[in-house]
């Protein structure tokens, strides 16, 4: 380790899982059960809540037939979830899930965005708790919809029984399908989002802190390499922007796909 460096930041190089731990912003909660509820992560989540609610309420305070610019932006965001996800994936009756899908999309997107917004620089979704909550909502929703629409038994049968496969393969397929619907779907949903945000933050830390370490190093020849490292950090930030938008879209799209399998009769 580079313990000889006076910089606090550089002392954290290389970054590890502990880089994602934050202390309570309210003094006196350290080490208690409620500490994680009052960290920077939680604060950013509440900011997401506030920004989304205020933006949409203000944008749709006085809706008009011919939309204003802000109203048009809000409608376009909802339109992506409604037309490009809900209606294209689920079909005509998917429109009633559009509010959920749109909320999911904007919530994940805004939470992800904190990862590259200066001063915030960390996405709440890089803490598994938030992806788990979102995957949990989707899980409960698609099972509830499936049971309500097809009946518990039919839905269970449609979910695990691969019609068309030879009978002797079914003993292999049924456990796989069952495992898939009950555990894999929500788990992959949560872990995919979490891992992407986690890895993205880690990469940015590596390049940024690595640059600091190189710049502080005793060898003069290494100092210019620090700028290369920081340049990479900028490139990676732009890459992160792409990834975080894509992950928000993928999460929403997969949710729609699972809802579709609950709504449709055939497997």
């Amino acid at each position: 380790m580079l313990t000889e460096s006076p910089m606090v930041l550089a002392s954290e190089f290389p970054p590890g899982p502990e880089s994602f731990d934050y202390r309570s912003l309210i003094p006196g909660l350290e080490g208690t059960f409620w500490e994680p509820a009052f960290t920077k992560i939680a604060l950013l989540t509440w900011l997401t809540v506030a920004i989304l609610i205020i933006f949409f309420l203000v944008a749709y305070r006085k809706p008009q037939i011919v939309p204003t610019k802000v109203q048009w932006i809000a409608e376009s965001i909802y339109g992506i979830a409604r037309d490009n996800i809900a209606r294209d994936v689920i079909g005509k009756e998917g429109v009633r899930f559009a509010p959920y899908l749109a909320t999911l999309f904007v919530f994940i997107l805004m939470n992800n965005l904190w990862g590259i917004i200066p001063l915030a620089q960390i996405s709440p979704n890089s803490h598994i708790a938030f992806p788990i909550v979102l995957a949990g909502f989707t899980y409960v929703l698609y099972i509830a919809v499936g049971v309500r629409k097809q009946g518990a038994l039919t839905y269970a049968k449609n979910s695990i029984w691969v019609s068309g496969a030879p009978l002797w393969v079914q003993p292999i397929l049924v456990p796989i399908e069952f495992f898939q619907v009950i555990i894999l779907r929500p788990a992959t949903l949560a872990i995919r989002l979490f891992a992407n945000m986690f890895a993205g933050h880690m990469i940015l830390l590596v390049f940024t802190l690595g640059g600091v370490v190189l710049f502080e190093s005793a060898t003069v020849a290494l100092k210019p390499v620090a700028f290369l490292s920081w340049g990479m950090a900028i490139v990676m930030t732009l890459f992160e922007l792409f990834i975080l938008a894509l992950q928000a879209y993928v999460f929403t799209l997969l949710t729609a796909t699972y809802l579709q399998s609950s709504v449709s009769e055939a497997h």
């Binding site: 899982p17 502990e18 994680p36 037939i65 509010p99 959920y100 749109a102 909320t103 803490h127 909502f137």
Partner: protein, 181 residues
């Protein structure tokens, strides 16, 4: 940031979320979902529907206006054609009237001229008759007077004298009938 005391626990810790954070996530997402799904997105759906209605209504209104315009056009065309035939009829009538009037005037003028001619002729005839009658009476006496004065007292035979006079008058009448030379 701080380096956690339980650093040694490693990666598995990452997938075990603190319950408090899950509670934060539940409330946060729940609040956003409640507000947006209850107050914003239904209004957007409503607005989309209103927009569709407005567009479809606009098309329907345009079609109605078009149909009305077409109907008016037809009406005007019909009226125009009617007016044309009416004008032609009036012109024909006027022409016929003018012809009638001309015929009337001509007939009246002819009648008048005939009447004038006829009355002139009859007047002439009457005058001629009365003149002839007067002359006839006068010629007798004049001739007798004249003959008496010329012959004098020698007209003894009255019967002969009457015969002579009658012959004279007859000759006279024939003379006037054939014209005097």
């Amino acid at each position: 940031m701080y380096t956690a005391a339980e650093e040694g626990s490693g990666g598995a810790q990452l997938l075990l979320p603190p319950l408090a954070e899950i509670i934060v996530g539940l409330i946060a997402f729940g609040v956003v979902l409640f507000v947006l799904a209850k107050f914003v997105f239904p209004r957007m759906e409503h607005m989309f529907q209103a927009r569709v209605d407005a567009i479809e209504g606009g098309i329907a209104r345009a079609e109605a206006a078009q149909a009305e315009a077409n109907q008016l056009l037809e009406q005007y065309r019909a009226q125009l054609a009617e007016a044309r035939t009416e004008a032609a009829r009036i012109r024909d009538e006027a022409r016929a009237d003018a012809e009638n009037i001309r015929q009337d005037v001509l007939a009246k003028a002819r009648e008048e001229s005939d009447r004038i001619i006829a009355s002139g002729t009859s007047q002439l005839a009457a005058q001629r008759e009365s003149i002839v009658r007067g002359l006839r009476a006068e010629v007798g006496t004049l001739a007798v007077d004249l003959a008496g004065r010329i012959v004098g007292e020698s007209l003894a035979d009255e019967a002969r004298s009457r015969g002579t006079v009658d012959r004279f008058i007859t000759e006279l009448g024939a003379g006037t009938g054939t014209g005097r030379r």
